[in-house]
């Protein structure tokens, strides 16, 4: 049972850690330090032509992230298929243990 106590103690430490960090964050509604965000809001229309600033970021300003993300999606589909193959080969296999 002692792993439970170790886990609990570590969880409490992590919780304290996070509460401290949350206390240090700038105020909830305040909008300081957001030069980049205001840049996106101001010229997302004439740069990318789309009124939806979030969409212009996802597809145009940071399209490379979305490309990475699509590969994650593609990996997941492949992963699911490699794991749930129809010809379930069961416990035996000849390649390598």
């Amino acid at each position: 049972m002692e792993t439970r106590y170790v886990g609990l103690v570590s969880l409490v430490i992590v919780a304290a850690f996070m509460m401290l960090a949350v206390a240090g964050l700038p105020g909830f509604g305040s909008f300081q330090q957001k030069e980049i965000a205001t840049y996106y809001l101001e010229n997302s229309l004439e740069d990318t032509g789309s009124a939806n600033a979030v969409n212009s970021i996802v597809w145009d300003y940071r399209g490379y992230d979305t490309l990475g993300e699509e590969t994650v999606l593609f990996c997941a589909a492949l992963g699911v298929f490699t794991i749930i193959r129809r010809r379930f080969s069961g416990p035996h296999h000849k390649d390598d243990l």
């Binding site: 850690f17 996070m18 401290l20 960090a21 240090g24 964050l25 700038p26 300081q32 330090q33 957001k34 030069e35 980049i36 965000a37 840049y39 996106y40 145009d60 300003y61 940071r62 399209g63 490379y64 992230d65 490309l67 990475g68 993300e69 590969t71 994650v72 593609f74 990996c75 997941a76 492949l78 992963g79 699911v80 298929f81 490699t82 794991i83 193959r85 379930f88 080969s89 416990p91 296999h93 000849k94 390649d95 390598d96 243990l97």
Partner: protein, 484 residues
């Protein structure tokens, strides 16, 4: 233009193409990723002189100004690691040409996506982008670890998945906190803004990010999943994962600690402590293993400990030694895992004793494993010696006790290496099936052996490389390049 960066696109395209080609015939499937990795090696080789002689290069995705878009940075450290990654990628793909017979299309797609993920991490200059490519790397390796659907690999797969995604969530939380405080995600921009931000948020964010990456790199407190994952995964995948996957984690740790947070002394001491701990514990655990793959996995943990100890020293020599050890360890570990793979190909179990009487080993297998073990232990004339010697010198300057521990661990490394070598290779002259190794398995072993010996006999290459690489870890040069 950073040509090496297009290697990421090449691997992505090869993954999608293998999916397409597999509709018609499974015959040509392996050729695409092997060709793609060759192209990737060439692309990175072109970029290397450009970066080494004219300094780091920055490229902006779609020409947006630095902090707005995603910036791609290729400096000496990332290009060298990328070159070795692509070479090992080519060798691993070639090795698994004959190795994986069923469902090869999906295997090759996932493997080339994994390499794309690693290269993505190496070239990106943006923390959130690093998180995304960490996910690409881990999701593709979840599928690969559970590739053989027997008990061991399934249990390893689910455990690796849960540990891995907790790690990446920690990373994301750290990035979110950094964005909350600094308002930007570009590493160079963060490096400029963070010193002026007081409070404990940067410290907590750093702790979270380091915990996440440490779990990915398999440092001491989080090394549980490594042995299972390598035992469950097919041998070429374990070679790729340990040779390259973990190194991406080490590279990310370096990038975050040295560039974004400008290597505060406290953090370096933490790295030192964890490095020494995982060095010792990894070696001791490996000593007690009778399963070949688990032993190699734990030896990876201890070598990563070496790297972090060297970097934790904080001195210029220490960092250079650590970086060189990353390079050497990538080559040695791939050699060891691939040679273990050739033995395990026909052997039924991974237990060293049982392998002995089931497989009669060919000379090439024997020598490749022997060279790997000697290089791992840092015996002169092998590339492991160069970096380990630098580590001994660097640690001696700072604290002689560390050198003693490092020497003791190298002794233990030699001990468990030779134990495995004796058990598997020397004690079975008569029994077992003759393993006829196809050409596609011989070439990788030969190439890796040559690399190990050349880097060992001519240490100047290694030392020059180390100096060039450690040059890229200083903050002012990096921010100068990225923010123009």
């Amino acid at each position: 233009m950073i040509y090496g960066f297009y290697a990421v696109g090449v691997f992505l395209a090869s993954a999608f193409l293998t999916g397409l080609v597999s509709i018609k015939s499974d015959k040509y499937v392996p050729h695409i990723p092997i060709a793609a990795s060759l192209v990737a090696v060439l692309l990175t080789a072109i970029t290397l002189p450009r970066v080494f002689f004219w300094g780091a290069v920055r490229m902006q995705m779609e020409e947006w100004v630095a902090p707005i878009g995603i910036s791609i940075v290729a400096d000496t450290l990332s290009v060298t690691l990328a070159l070795i990654t692509t070479i090992i990628a080519f060798l691993v793909l070639l090795f698994s040409y004959r190795y994986i017979s069923r469902n090869s299309a999906k295997y090759y797609s996932l493997l080339s996506l994994m390499f794309a993920g690693v290269l993505g991490i190496l070239y990106t200059g943006d923390i959130f982008n690093m998180f995304v490519f960490f996910e690409v790397l881990s999701v593709s390796s979840y599928g690969l670890v559970a590739f053989y659907r027997n008990r061991v690999s399934l249990e390893a797969g689910i455990k690796y998945l849960i540990m891995g995604s907790v790690a990446t969530s920690m990373l994301l939380l750290g990035v979110a906190m950094l964005y909350g405080v600094a308002g930007t995600v570009n590493m160079a921009d963060l490096a400029l803004k963070l010193p002026s931000i007081g409070g404990i948020v940067p410290a907590v964010a750093l702790a979270l990010i380091m915990a996440g990456i440490a779990l990915k790199a398999g440092i001491f407190p989080f090394h549980a999943w490594i042995a299972d994952a390598y035992e469950g995964a097919p041998s070429p995948v374990s070679a790729a994962l340990s040779g390259i996957g973990i190194k991406a984690g080490v590279y990310a740790m370096l990038r975050v600690v040295f560039i974004v947070f400008n290597a505060p002394a406290v953090v370096l001491d933490i790295l030192l402590v964890f490095g020494v701990a995982s060095m010792l514990i990894g070696a001791l655990l490996a000593l007690g293993q009778d399963n070949l793959k688990r032993m190699l996995a734990y030896s990876s943990v201890s070598q990563i400990g070496y790297i972090f100890m060297a970097i934790g020293l904080g001195t210029a020599l220490g960092t250079a030694a650590g970086l060189l050890h990353i390079v050497n360890h990538m080559i040695i570990k791939s050699l060891l895992f691939l040679s273990a793979g050739t033995v395990l190909w026909k052997a039924k179990s991974t237990n060293m004793k049982e392998i002995a009487n089931t497989v009669r080993t060919t000379p090439l297998m024997t020598y490749s494993f022997l060279f790997g073990v000697l290089a791992l232990a840092g015996i002169p004339l092998f590339n492991g010696f160069v970096s380990k010697w630098l580590i001994y010198v660097a640690s001696f300057e700072k604290m002689p006790l560390l050198t003693v521990i490092a020497l003791v661990t190298s002794a233990i490394t030699l001990a468990y290496g030779l134990k495995a070598f004796y058990a598997v290779f020397l004690s079975n002259e008569k029994a077992g099936t003759k393993v006829v190794m196809p050409l596609s398995m011989k070439i990788p072993l030969v190439v890796l052996i040559v690399l190990v010996i050349v880097l060992g006999v001519v240490p100047q290459i290694g030392i020059w490389l180390a100096e060039m690489m450690s040059g890229s870890l200083d903050l002012s040069l990096y921010t100068g390049v990225v923010l123009g």
